[in-house]
């Protein structure tokens, strides 16, 4: 293991661990129930954000369809717990079902590119919600209730959500440092060129879609267990898909920590905003999206980077964000 030689290097290495440690010891300070709930929700959102970023940020396949996996995770967890399975195994089952669904969705839609893929994912989400509204065993549009014999323990829920975020971030970092991550970036930059270099774009996209779906499914299950009641208009809502997509875009598309930052900001803003200004959250997200696309395509991370005037050190991902946003060039070839 090579240790960093500069202060900044140490900071970069230690900051995530310090953050994790802070989140783990936080309950010792006896925070209020509201704070714990806020952090729980934020952690669940952040998990989905980091997962979306695997497909949307690293591989450049923007999907409006992640509510499907979130909802499937929630419903699978509910049904499994109803059948008497351990909650943690139910979360895993939710992840597995979501991953299986990701194949069903990905097999046809990954034949499409760019905006066509995006539109197809919108169609899939809407269709799945309509179908879920009409399925009898899950109560249709009136929702599903999880009944647990155990007493409600907010700390357990909190730690589960933190574990999910940690898992998502760890998986993302491992992927972004691996050969697989390089393949994803290659696909984002130029699918045909990547194929020429021996990457199979179709199967690579399917794999990363499944990983992301599993993480989102787990997050959906964790949310469902705490909420104890959910319905298709909530977990399968188009709004859920939008939220999952907005977080990484706000934070900085394509970077793991951008997705984390976006998720954290979004979760906290959403929880505080829904309480205080229920009428204005669409306006906020809409204008934020417009501002980010017109002025700072790299999101909050780009803003931070600009403030601290630091070049990114990872040469593999240089330019990759500009490529997604349509103004990049590789080896003099305009993309």
């Amino acid at each position: 293991v090579k240790l960093p030689s500069t202060f900044q290097g140490w900071l970069k290495l230690l900051l995530p661990w310090l953050l994790l440690a802070a989140l783990l010891v936080l309950p010792a300070g006896k925070p209020g129930a509201n704070i714990l709930k806020l952090l729980f929700i934020t952690a669940v959102w952040t998990t989905t954000s980091v997962a979306w970023n695997l497909l949307g940020g690293m591989a450049g396949q923007v999907s409006f369809g992640f509510a499907v996996f979130y909802g499937l995770g929630a419903y699978t967890t509910g049904l499994m717990m109803h059948a008497g399975l351990n909650p943690y195994l139910s979360f895993l089952a939710g992840g597995l079902i979501a991953a299986a669904a990701s194949f069903l969705i990905g097999l046809p839609t990954f034949r499409l590119r760019g905006p066509y893929f995006v539109i197809a994912t919108i169609g899939v989400t809407e269709a799945v919600r309509v179908v879920m509204n009409n399925i009898d065993i899950t109560g249709g549009s009136s929702g599903y209730r999880i009944l647990e014999e155990k007493q409600f323990n907010p700390l357990e829920h909190y730690y589960t959500a933190i574990a999910a975020v940690a898992l998502a971030v760890a998986v993302s970092i491992m992927i972004s440092r691996s050969r697989f991550g390089l393949a994803l970036r290659a696909i984002k930059q130029d699918e045909d060129a990547a194929a020429d270099l021996g990457v199979n774009p179709y199967s690579t996209k399917l794999k990363v879609h499944a990983i992301a779906a599993a993480l989102v499914g787990i997050a959906g299950g964790i949310y469902a267990r705490r909420a104890a009641f959910f319905y298709p208009g909530d977990v399968f809502a188009f709004q859920t898909s939008i939220s999952i997509l907005l977080m990484p875009v706000i934070g900085g598309i394509g970077t793991v920590w951008g997705a984390v930052l976006g998720g954290a900001v979004f979760g906290i803003v959403e929880e505080e905003l829904v309480v205080n200004f229920p009428n204005f959250h669409l306006l906020l997200y809409g204008s934020l999206l417009i501002l980010i696309i017109l002025f700072e395509p790299d999101g909050l991370m780009g803003l931070l980077r600009r403030v601290f005037r630091r070049r990114r050190e990872d040469p593999g991902s240089e330019n990759s964000d500009q490529v997604l946003w349509g103004s990049g060039s590789v080896a003099g070839r305009k993309l």
Binding site: P115, Y116, A120, E126, A127, L282, G286
Partner: protein, 310 residues
């Protein structure tokens, strides 16, 4: 299904196709000229419906006239949106993600304005005509649907004329066919884009007003129609007005007849599955995915391919 019922459904489907075509054509011209997938189209449709509503409630203007008034108002609005937002997008000759997300963000903003001004509840425009039936032999149709159909068709014909016979239409077609060559021969790219965006928005507002005469609406009104518009323009091959009409007819037929067509299925023996009414929206969304996959160049593209093979 009796013959009369079938005839009723067929006429309902054709009337539906008219309004669908008017709805999709605005998105088509914008897509054709600028290669922007205009998700804010849903917002324009919604605003169009509320425009006719306000005109009717406040000034007692007939919603049909309201729809016509929507044309110039939304034209200017569209040009303003283009001037403010769209022209800053990075130039691209293929559809790009920033443009999609930008228009999506703008849609959210419009939706929020809708919620702030008109609130969450469903509204509808009720005129004496709304429920008045017109009898055509054995078939009876609400008068309002006939009027909406006629208005939509007239507008499409006018647009077709503009498209084929005017300089503006010619520059639009040039940009659709080959943006690069069009610029070389001196088509004013920026001006044509601005006007096209205005035109697309005007048609969205117009179609929104017409839709508002038939359906109830809320600020989330445009979403199902956005996806339908997209099905239609993909079916129609993405860039021609006659293609849009064809796509609209196909979608309307599929949507209308889907609940009546038994699908053979096997589960402990053969049986026929019928799509229930509540699942009907899923049909068009499913159709969208199928169409995108099977015929990315639309029905016309399918024919063209056959011809090339022969």
């Amino acid at each position: 299904m009796s013959l009369i019922q079938g005839l009723n459904l067929l006429i309902a489907a054709l009337l539906l196709a008219g309004i669908y075509a008017a709805m999709a054509v605005g998105m088509t011209v914008i897509y054709g000229v600028m290669k922007i997938v205009n998700l804010a189209h849903a917002g324009f449709l919604m605003l169009g419906a509320y425009f006719a509503y306000e005109m009717f409630e406040r000034f007692h203007i007939d919603p049909l006239l309201g729809a016509v008034l929507a044309l110039p108002v939304f034209f200017l609005f569209g040009m303003a949106v283009h001037w403010l937002l769209v022209r800053w997008l990075p130039k691209s000759d293929t559809p790009s993600l920033p443009s999609l997300l930008l228009m999506f963000g703008f849609w959210l903003v419009l939706q929020n304005f809708g919620y702030v001004i008109w609130g969450n509840d469903d509204r509808s425009i009720t005129t004496p005509r709304t429920l008045w039936p017109v009898n055509l032999g054995p078939v009876s149709v609400p008068e309002v649907k006939l009027i909406v159909f006629a208005a939509a068709v007239v507008c499409l014909l006018i647009l077709q004329l503009v498209f084929n016979r005017s300089w503006f239409g010619r520059s639009m077609r040039a940009l659709i066919q080959n943006p690069y060559a069009a610029r070389i021969v001196g088509v004013d790219d920026a001006r044509t884009s601005r006007l096209t965006f205005g035109l697309g928005t005007a048609f969205a507002g117009f179609a929104g007003s017409l839709l508002g005469m038939i359906y109830t609406f809320s600020p989330d009104f445009g979403r199902p129609f956005l996806l339908r518009s997209f099905v239609i323009i993909v079916l129609g091959g993405l860039e021609s007005i006659s293609g849009v009409a064809l796509g609209a007819v196909v979608l309307a037929l599929v949507e209308t007849f889907a609940p009546y067509v038994p699908i053979p299925m096997y589960w402990h023996g053969w049986f026929f599955y019928q799509v229930s009414d509540s699942l009907q929206p899923a049909v068009s969304f499913g159709l969208l995915v199928v169409v995108l996959l099977v015929m990315p160049k639309g029905i016309a593209g399918l024919f063209a391919q056959k011809r090339r093979l022969a």
